[in-house]
Each structure stands twice: as structure tokens, then as C-alpha cells.
Amino acid sequence: MRERRLGEMSPLTKLVVYTLLIGWSLVVLFPLYWVVITSVKLPGQVGDGPDYLPFIDFMPSLHAWRYIFVDLGSDTFRPYLNSLIIASTSTVLAMSVGACAAYALARLHFRPRLLSIVLFLVALGIGVWMIGSGLVGWPIAAASGLAIFVISVLALSRVRSPRLGNADILFWVISQRILPPVVAALPIYIMFQQIGILDTHLAIILTYTTVNMPIVVWLMYDFFASIPIDIEESAELDGASRFRIFREMVLPLAKPGLAATSLLVLILSWNEYLLALFLSTAKAQTIPLLVAAQNATRGPQWWYMSVLIVIMIVPVVLLTILLQRLIAKGLLLGAVKG
């Protein structure tokens, strides 16, 4: 049927459509082209004004590439490795935690008591006050806050209280995404400083996992909800445990969604800048920070920056081309159902 509509598109319309699409491709590709050719220009060539075509307008040189890979050497590879470790670990963590929560919210029923939540917040407030007033250290404050919570919940367990449902929990988790990172960044910085894990992989991994997990829950919830429930029910009748059902039946069915969501989360944590700036100084520095660091006292070193931007983009683009089919199936289903 679609071929018929193609025939109906007049040649003029077709021309306009192709012009617009090719025009936008140029808008997308030209900045990338400029980065690539800047990476093979000499500083003097950049300073002389625009040169467009290598070998015709200017002689390309690999000096910037040599500087980044040979002269800087380990100073390039360390942040690169840091970024690889942090992005992949936090993606795996966010996916496991988020997918479990999304599955539970899509399939099981939760009815938490509103009263327990209020009590929890009160206990948390008391704990924070104890730390803030400088009376006790954080381990004692945390322990006493927890004790207050447990005791009061047990004491008030017979009091009637309204209950929340799955939709409320889902909304709460997803709404975490609204939280601007800068609100949480300060206290997380202080918190990590107190327990002494500032400027380590662990600190950044934990933060990225928390920041990206709501996206996983949001996308995977729709995905799990769209899987027919009958198979799971019959498996449950056969006596399979929840964990087995999840691992052996649900996860394989959700592969496209898992692949697309993890690609998105991977890109987000690979490119993240602000939180890394807060949480790392030297050892755990990530590659976006290294890009920004090329804006040195001598002015921006465009050629070095361009090399770094190129080596940052290439792996992600390759991965996306590899996973393209899965993305088309996966990310879109969840998002379109919204």
C-alpha cells in the first residue's frame, strides 16, 4: 500500500523532501567533519583562518595524534580507561537494579503504608540533624535513625493508615529524573569526602547508577508490561520461583529493550561532565574532563581537543551501528507507549 503513496508524491514534493533531508545531514555531518580535519591541522594552520580540504587547502599532519597518544600517553589512556570502567560498570549496575525494580512494579503488587514512609522520613531527618549538630559521627547517627524507624514501625503496626500502590512508586522513581544533579552533587561530594571515597571509580559509579536508574525503570516498565503474562503464570503453577521466571523467561524476551536501554544509559554516562567534575580530581578523571582540560592557559588547544572528541565518538557510533536493529525495536516500543 505504501508504494502507491510514493507514486502519489509529486516530483516537486520529492525534490523538496530530499533537499531537506540531505540539507539536515549536512548540518549534522559538517561539525563532525570540521572536528576531524581540525585534528590533523597544525596550530599555525588553525590560526591562519579556515582551510576546508586536506591535501588541497593544507597539508594534514598527525602531530596532535602523536601528542595525545605518545607524548601524553598514559595521561590519555588513564582517563579513557576510567571512562570505560565507570560507564560500563554503572550501566550494568543501573540495568540490573532498574530492570529488577521495573519487573517487580509491572508484575507484583506493592501496598506500602503511608505511615511507615512518614516515620522513615522523620527518622532520616533526626539522623541528619544528629550529624549536622555535630553531636555524633555518621555511623552512630545512621544506626540510631534506623533504630528509631524500626521501633516506631513495630509500635505503630496496628494503627490504620492509607496505603500507596505501584503507580505511586513508579511515579516516585521516575520523578527522580527531575532532580537537577547540582542539588545532589554538593551533599554527595561532602558525603563521599566523609567516607573517604572521593576521586575513586566507586564514587562516580554509584552516582551514575542512581542518576540513570530511573530511565531504566521508566523504559523497561512498559517493556515488561507488554510481555504476555500467561507464560509466567503457567511457570508459577509449575512451582518455578520468581527469580527463575525472571532470569529464564522474562529477560530473554526483553532482550531488545535491554539492549536499547543499556545503549542509552551507556551513552549518558560516557558523556557525563558535571558530576564527574564534582567527584573526581585526578585519579578518577574521565575523558570529558580531559577534553575540557585542553582549554589551557595558552588558550584552547583545538587540535588536541579534536583528537579527543574523535576518539570519544568513534566507539559509541560503532556500537550504535552494531545495535541499530535492536534500538529500532527496543527503545521505541517503550517510549512510544509512553
Partner: protein
């Protein structure tokens, strides 16, 4: 019963809780707990002493400084008489609020909670519009209004172009998978990289377009020295990155529209414009609203681009709220930084929740998918 069997039984009975526990713990530890600490910081003065730091409770002083005190020009902007554009913005806001109230009165479900929610939402909207309109003269917006500018102008631009491209790509054309892949690429580039790339491209004397600028007589004009062009360059860079996001999701929406309805309408002799208005648009509207909501949520957090492209300048003209908070943090004014961050949290929460309740939800319910 052995120990391991008992343990299995315990696991199975509490499967649901165990599934959801890690997520809840993560949010509590790295989201809710920091939020409370941040509230504490926002009402304190932070001082570094000889042995560590001290926090002194100073109440609402941090906020007072931002709203009426010495930092007002930085946060809200410099107030002056309202320009013609300012009046237009106020008029549009008033019309929007009027439409919202009318829709509510007509819905026939006038609950107290709905009334309070709308009061907060419309009140915040009116206040934001007023601040924006009355600091507009000479472009002396504060970081609050600059952020709003990025959100409103940026997201509108991205939505129009992204949806347009998606609509074109959903037609029967050759090379669709090529365009789809190419259009997706900017989303994968780190925002810091985009910022530097656009600094190179926008350079008036050394960038690739400099011959064009010279030919047009703008040779010695500097976009970075004028508040509005500087803001515009940031919006362009941000849009270059985020149009792909709207494109890819709207493309999926266009591709899943009801094919048989369109064919039936075409057989009845409906023109392409009527088909788009009556069938295509209503079927993609809920997705469109959702995608705009996601973009608005993310757009409020913009920081990398202004930080790198213009360093917040000229003056404070391109500072977003996040960048403002970051600069205060760098100056070790932790209380002021937390106060800015908290205001950002309040504004973005009100705007996003209001948008969800008043726009996204009614649209989804209209399509029967609550």
C-alpha cells in the same frame, strides 16, 4: 527442612521486596538523603576554619539574598520597565492561564487538591513570566530567566525541527536507514565536545563560515559579546544535540500510526492536510507531549554548553541556574549554591509536574491509554 530450603522459601516469599529493594536503597542514599542535606545547606552559612568546616544556621538569608538582596541581579535579573516584547509574553501567559482555568471549570471535576495544584502551577507560571518580562530590557536577564529562555526556546525549536524531520523520514523515501543513523549521531557526542566544536564553528574570523560573515559585513561583530547572540549560539548547540532524540521517538510514533484509517480517509477523498490534522496528529499527540516533557526535564539541567561555550558570559548573560550554582560552589559559598539549586528544583518540579498533569495526562486519557 534444611537451612538452604528455608532460605529459598524466605527468598520466594519476599521476592517482590528483594526485587525493588536495591532501587529504593540507591534512591534513598544518593538522592533523598542528599536532598535533605542540601536543604540544610540552603539555610546555613558554610565556613572553612582551621579544623574542617562549620555550618551556621542563618534561616532564609541565602534565599533573601537571591530574591531581594545583593545577588538579585544575578539570579532574577535587573528589573526595569516592561518592553513591548515583555507585554506580549505577559499576554500569552495570561491567555494560557485563562485557557487552563476555563478547561478546569468545564471539566466538572472541581476537587480541592486539583484547585491547590492549579493555584501553585499558575501562580509559579505567572511569577516566572513577570520576572522574565520585567528584566528583558537590554537583555539583563538573571540566571533564572536565562534558564527559562533555554528551556522554552530550545525545546520549541528542537520539537519543531525534530518532528518535521521525523515526518519527512516516515514518508516512503530511499535511504531511510541511512538518514536515521546520521540524524541520530549528535546524541552520542559528549556535550563538552559539542560546546568546543560550536566554538570553533562560530568563530567569526577563523571558523569555516568566516568568509560568509565577512562578505555579509559582520566581520568584526562578536557574538560572544552580545547577550542575545551568545544565548542563541548556546540554544543552537543544544538543539544540534537534542533534535535527534525528538526525531527518533517521533519517527517511531509516525511509523506506528493507524495505516488503515489513513487509507480509508484517502479513499473518502481527504487531502493530505486533512489526513494529517484528523488522523496522524491525534495519534501521535500523546507521544509528542511525553517527548516534550522529557526534554523539558533535561533542559532545565543545562550546564555544559554555557560553561564551555561562553563561560557564562558576557557578564552573567548566559549563565543557567545549574552553572550559577556551580560557580557559587567553586567560590565555596555552599549555602548560596544550595539555595540556587533548591530554587531550580522547585521551578523544574512545578513546571514538569504541572505539564504532566495538565497536558500529558489529558492527552493520554483522550487516546484511552491512561
Amino acid at each position: 527442612m534444611t537451612v538452604s530450603e528455608r532460605f529459598d522459601g524466605f527468598l520466594d516469599r519476599n521476592a517482590g521486596r528483594l526485587f525493588i529493594l536495591p532501587a529504593v536503597l540507591l534512591i534513598l542514599a544518593f538522592s533523598l538523603f542528599p536532598l535533605i542535606i542540601s536543604a540544610w545547606l540552603a539555610v546555613s552559612r558554610f565556613k572553612i576554619g582551621r579544623d574542617g568546616f562549620t555550618l551556621t544556621y542563618i534561616g532564609e538569608l541565602n534565599f533573601k539574598k537571591l530574591f531581594t538582596g545583593s545577588q538579585q541581579f544575578h539570579f532574577l535579573g535587573t528589573f526595569s520597565s516592561i518592553t513591548l516584547t515583555g507585554w506580549l509574553i505577559l499576554l500569552v501567559t495570561a491567555l494560557l492561564i485563562g485557557a487552563g482555568i476555563r478547561q478546569w471549570l468545564r471539566s466538572g471535576r472541581l476537587t480541592v487538591l486539583g484547585g491547590i495544584g492549579r493555584l501553585i502551577a499558575f501562580g509559579t507560571l505567572a511569577a516566572l513570566a513577570w520576572v522574565f518580562a520585567s528584566t528583558l530590557q537590554d537583555g539583563r536577564l538573571g540566571s533564572l530567566s536565562t534558564t527559562l529562555f533555554y528551556v522554552v526556546v530550545g525545546v520549541s525549536l528542537q520539537f519543531v525541527i525534530g518532528t518535521g524531520l521525523a515526518f519527512l523520514c516516515a514518508q516512503d523515501i530511499r535511504g531511510r536507514s541511512f538518514f536515521r543513523l546520521v540524524f541520530f549521531i549528535p546524541l552520542m557526542v559528549t556535550p563538552v565536545g559539542i560546546a568546543y566544536t560550536f566554538r570553533m564553528l562560530a568563530d567569526m574570523s577563523l571558523g569555516p563560515f568566516s568568509p560568509l560573515w565577512k562578505a555579509a559585513g559582520f566581520g568584526d561583530f562578536s557574538w560572544a559579546a552580545d547577550p542575545w547572540t551568545a544565548r542563541l549560539v548556546i540554544v543552537v548547540g543544544d538543539s544540534w544535540q537534542w533534535i535527534p532524540f525528538i526525531f527518533i521517538i517521533m519517527l517511531a510514533a509516525f511509523e506506528s500510526q493507524p495505516r488503515d484509517e489513513i487509507e480509508a480517509a484517502e479513499l473518502d477523498g481527504a487531502g493530505p492536510w486533512r489526513v494529517f490534522r484528523d488522523i496522524t496528529w491525534p495519534s501521535v499527540a500523546p507521544v509528542a507531549a511525553t517527548v516534550v516533557l522529557i526534554r523539558v526535564i533535561e533542559a532545565f539541567k543545562i550546564v555544559d554548553l554555557p560553561n564551555v561555550l561562553t563561560n557564562g558570559g558576557p557578564g552573567i548573560a548566559t549563565e543557567s541556574l545549574t552553572l550559577h550554582a556551580f560557580i557559587e560552589w567553586r567560590a565555596l559559598n555552599l549555602g548560596g549554591s544550595a539555595a540556587v539549586a533548591y530554587t531550580l528544583l522547585f521551578v523544574s518540579t512545578v513546571v514538569c509536574v504541572a505539564f504532566f498533569q495538565l497536558v500529558v495526562r489529558p492527552m493520554r486519557q483522550a487516546r484511552g491509554q491512561a
